[in-house]
């Protein structure tokens, strides 16, 4: 139980949000990746968060950090597009694009970056308090 625990907990949030940002970046980067078969099409990824007892990370039992539980692939059907002139078109003249809504991803990204900022702020405050406590009685 110390101010460093607060930093640890906020730190778990920073790494979780970073994974989330990476997944979002990957989704947006591959929004226009086409392929010849529906199976090969890029699937949007989304990380699932899980609260984890700080005791599993360090020693204290009462505090909860956050961890990536697993990364799920969203099962959205790829969009088929009739484009016979495309070099990747299949024998019926279709190419397949992943069904990624860039606007949704952007909203998701903003949420992740806000959460990141919140945790940074918590760390900063904890740091300031710890520094002031260190200079106690000087």
């Amino acid at each position: 139980m110390s101010l460093f625990d607060a930093m640890d907990i906020a730190g778990t949030s920073l790494s979780a949000q970073t994974v989330r940002l990476n997944a979002i970046a990957s989704n947006m980067a591959n929004a226009n990746t086409v392929s010849s078969t529906p199976e090969d099409t890029y699937k949007a990824k989304t990380p699932l968060f899980k609260a984890v007892l700080e005791s599993q990370l360090s020693g204290d039992a009462s505090q909860m950090g956050v961890q990536i539980d697993r990364i799920e692939e969203l099962g959205d059907e790829p969009r088929a597009e009739f484009n016979p002139g495309h070099p990747l078109a299949d024998e019926n003249g279709y190419i397949y694009r992943p069904d990624i809504d860039v606007a949704t991803e952007m909203v998701n990204m903003m949420q992740a970056s806000r959460s990141f900022q919140n945790s940074i702020e918590a760390i900063n405050t904890a740091k300031q308090l710890a520094m002031r406590t260190l200079t106690l009685g000087k």
């Binding site: 607060a6 949030s13 699932l48 968060f49 956050v66 918590a122 308090l129």
Partner: protein, 132 residues
Amino acid sequence: MAASGIDKALGISPQVLALRTQRMNLLTANIANADTPNYKARDIDFRSALEQAKTSLAQLNMTNTRHMPLAGSAEQPTVMFRQPLQESTNGNTVDAQSEHAAFMENAMRYQASLQLLDNRIKGIKNAIKGEA
């Protein structure tokens, strides 16, 4: 018993700081888990927790002259779940705004207690040195 004399002079501030730290950790956990599905926001009732810390200190029995008084550690306070004003669809009960407000308030009050403690320590130091 010189140590307990100084302890007495420091008043309740050490317990307050310990509790504030605990509350800060809880609030940080709430902020960290703002996006975690099914996470329930938690907090402590500061008044009753401080009351608990005070009485647990007073109840400490010292049957031997070499027993040391309990240092400024607040007893593990009772952690409770927050009643959400509006629950989100993923079962998360963290209200980021109110958590932030509580976090900042807690930090301010921590600093206030720190200032009090600081002044008391300075007073004791002055008394020891015999300066004005």
